[in-house]
């Protein structure tokens, strides 16, 4: 049996080599299919790996609170918000178990512009406090980050990103310069290291000022929406805190009975999970698309194998006349299809891997590609399956040829 396998393998390889261009074109479908699945999986898995790493940094004893407006309410013009009052309420009731890191986004049109001399920047202005440095992973190039004192005394100070500095033509080290937010002047106390882009979105286009300063700048007329990062003290149970915050916010927002929450409390794990769910769905959809392309590739293989059987009818007749048995012919053609597919799979794997590595280095800020073992095994398994399924019909055709007819074939 092993002897027959090696013999059939050798003659299959000989015939593939004899038609190298045709063999290559035949496997192109498989090559492209496998290459695309490996590329996609490589990129997505790399991305997912990075996300998991990043969320792990946040730790499991923290979660975020943000407002949530259902589509229905949005259409009616009811926009849910987490207000400074909410923050104050949670702060006052729960300061023994949690520390809050509020981030207030600018919703006042007058504040949208950041000016320096005649230059204007449209950096995102955010009010926050000391704790944001860790949450937002801000590393300083020059100067210092916002401190507790800045918030307590509502100091008019700012930490800016690299894009804002260049937009405003500020000096390389802008610490000490004054910029204008709306009608107020604030002093730059720090500038962050540039982070680059993620999906074409700059990560360096921000102006951070103390939360309290932001509140006073916005005035009482505007109703800011606050994103709240909650860190639990050691030994505090997350579930209970989650419930307490939910209760406080429901009370504060006047929600009763069956009213749905107009906010979301999310742990970093939930965030990771939902991200991973999305990524898994993308992987699955891609898998389906690739499955179809492999199917098409398989049909191509079957087509060429059938042509090859017809073309070699006489040869098959000769082999049968000099003593080849049915299963020996079958094995040879089946192995030929199988080897074609596996070679295609191997080529696709190499191309796909190189492509995903190349793409992940070319796209700035994109994490390095990671091709997991299961993807490799899966694409090989699938290629082999395609080879077997689509190789069996031509091989059976060859094996069933009548030697007399085959010998007469011109």
């Amino acid at each position: 049996m092993i002897f027959e396998m090696t013999e059939s393998l050798l003659s299959a390889l000989r015939s593939i080599r004899a038609h190298s261009l045709r063999s290559f074109l035949t496997t192109l479908g498989i090559i492209i299919g496998v290459a695309s699945v490996i590329t996609m999986v490589g990129l997505i898995q790399g991305f997912s790996y990075m996300l998991n790493q990043e969320f792990q940094g946040l730790g499991s004893n923290s979660f975020s609170v943000q407002s949530y407006t259902s589509m229905e309410d949005r259409l009616q013009g009811k926009i849910a918000r987490i207000t400074p009052d909410d923050v104050e309420l949670i702060q006052s009731r729960m300061s023994d178990v949690v520390s809050l890191s509020p981030i207030m986004y600018n919703s006042n049109g007058a504040l949208a512009q950041v000016r320096y001399q005649s230059q204007i920047s449209r950096g995102q202005i955010m009010g926050t406090d000391r704790t944001y440095q860790e949450v937002g992973q801000v590393y300083l190039k020059y100067g210092r980050f916002l401190g507790d004192g800045d918030n307590l005394t509502r100091r008019k100070v700012a930490v800016i990103g690299e894009d804002v500095r260049s937009d405003l033509s500020l000096p390389e080290n802008p610490v000490g310069e004054f910029i204008r937010l709306g009608s107020e002047w604030v002093r730059i106390v720090g500038i962050a290291e540039p982070k680059g882009q993620i999906f074409g979105q700059s990560q360096d286009n921000f102006v951070l000022i103390p939360f309290s300063t932001m509140q006073s700048l916005m005035g009482n007329q505007t109703r800011p929406d606050i994103f709240l990062q909650v860190s639990l003290f050691d030994g505090v149970e997350q579930q209970a805190i989650n419930q307490r915050i939910t209760n406080l916010l429901r009370f504060s927002h006047g929600l009763e009975g069956d009213d749905p929450n107009d906010f979301r409390v999310q742990t970093s794990e939930q965030l990771t999970d939902s991200f991973n769910n999305i990524l898994d769905t993308i992987t699955l959809v891609m898998g389906g698309v690739v499955g179809i392309s492999l199917l098409v590739g398989g049909i191509g293989i079957m087509n060429i194998m059938l042509v090859s059987v017809t073309e070699r009818t006489r040869e098959i007749g000769i082999c049968k006349a000099i003593g080849a048995k049915r299963h020996q012919i079958l094995l040879q053609f089946l192995l030929e299809a199988l080897i074609l597919c596996l070679l295609g799979g191997l080529a696709g794997l190499t191309i796909g891997y190189s492509l995903s590595v190349l793409l992940s280095t070319l796209i700035p800020g994109f994490p390095s590609a990671y091709v997991p073992m299961w993807a490799i095994l899966l694409s090989f398994g699938f290629s082999a399956g395609v080879g077997l399924i689509f190789g069996i019909a031509p091989a059976a055709k060859a094996a069933n040829l009548d030697p007399i007819q085959a010998l007469r074939y011109e």
Binding site: R14, S15, C319, K320, A321, I322, G323, A324, K325, I404
Partner: protein, 235 residues
């Protein structure tokens, strides 16, 4: 006991409603070491006879015993084995594998009986030497002349040491000089004791053989001994 014996062998092809009797109750015996020509015009049943003798086809009725085996009852795989062990085919159009060298072509039948690579090579080289082609063994068929190709084909038929060498118009595609060479090769093999059956319509070829069986419309029209072994050509 004869090497092969046919007993009222009949082959019927049905074409639509018509029945064509290609062979009609043919009985004959061929002893080991014979040099037989089967002749006849086209449509006389020559090719059918060849296919059945070569175990490529089965008779509709009658018994074909080859080397003490009733071939008519065998499965397809057993027939393939018989072809491999008992019969060496030589075709009019050589029928070599086009992408395999002369040596590989000769080694091919041995693949199907499971010889090791080394043994195959030894036997094939010996067979090629026997037909006088010791030095061109690595050439592809299309790099060889017609005569050389037919020598490769004869070597391929000989390499399995078959009971019968079965040749179908072996000189049909060859010029007169190479025909001479190939026929003297057959004569030589006959002298060495090889059983040879040649299917041909050429009287000159048939004249080489010790026995000539002429078929006509599926019957044996005549079965004569030539009483001479090497008639028209000198070796």
């Amino acid at each position: 006991m004869a090497l092969l014996s046919l007993d009222s062998l009949t082959k019927v092809y049905s074409m639509g409603h018509q029945e064509l009797r290609a062979l009609n109750a043919v009985s004959l015996e061929i002893p080991r070491g014979s040099y037989v020509a089967i002749t006849g015009t086209s449509g006389s049943g020559k090719s059918t006879m060849l296919n059945i003798l070569g175990c490529l086809d089965k008779p509709s009725s009658g018994v074909y015993v080859l080397n003490n085996t009733d071939v008519g009852t065998l499965s397809e795989d057993r027939l393939a084995e018989i072809r491999n062990h008992e019969i060496g085919f030589i075709f009019q159009s050589f029928n070599l594998l086009p992408r395999a060298s002369a040596l590989e072509n000769v080694m091919q039948p041995l693949v199907y009986r499971g010889c090791s690579m080394k043994e195959r090579r030894q036997l094939a080289e010996a067979a090629l030497a026997r037909v006088g082609l010791g030095n061109r063994i690595d050439h592809l068929p299309n790099q060889l002349s017609g005569g050389q190709r037919q020598r490769v084909a004869i070597a391929r038929a000989l390499v399995t040491e078959p009971s019968i060498l079965l040749a179908d118009e072996p000189t049909g595609n060859l010029d007169s000089q190479t025909t001479k060479e190939v026929m003297s090769l057959f004569d030589e093999l006959y002298a060495q004791g090889q059983t040879i059956i040649i299917v041909t319509h050429e009287a000159e070829i048939a004249a080489h053989c010790e026995r000539v069986i002429r078929l006509e419309d599926g019957y044996i029209a005549s079965d004569k001994n030539n009483n001479r072994l090497r008639p028209s050509y000198d070796i």
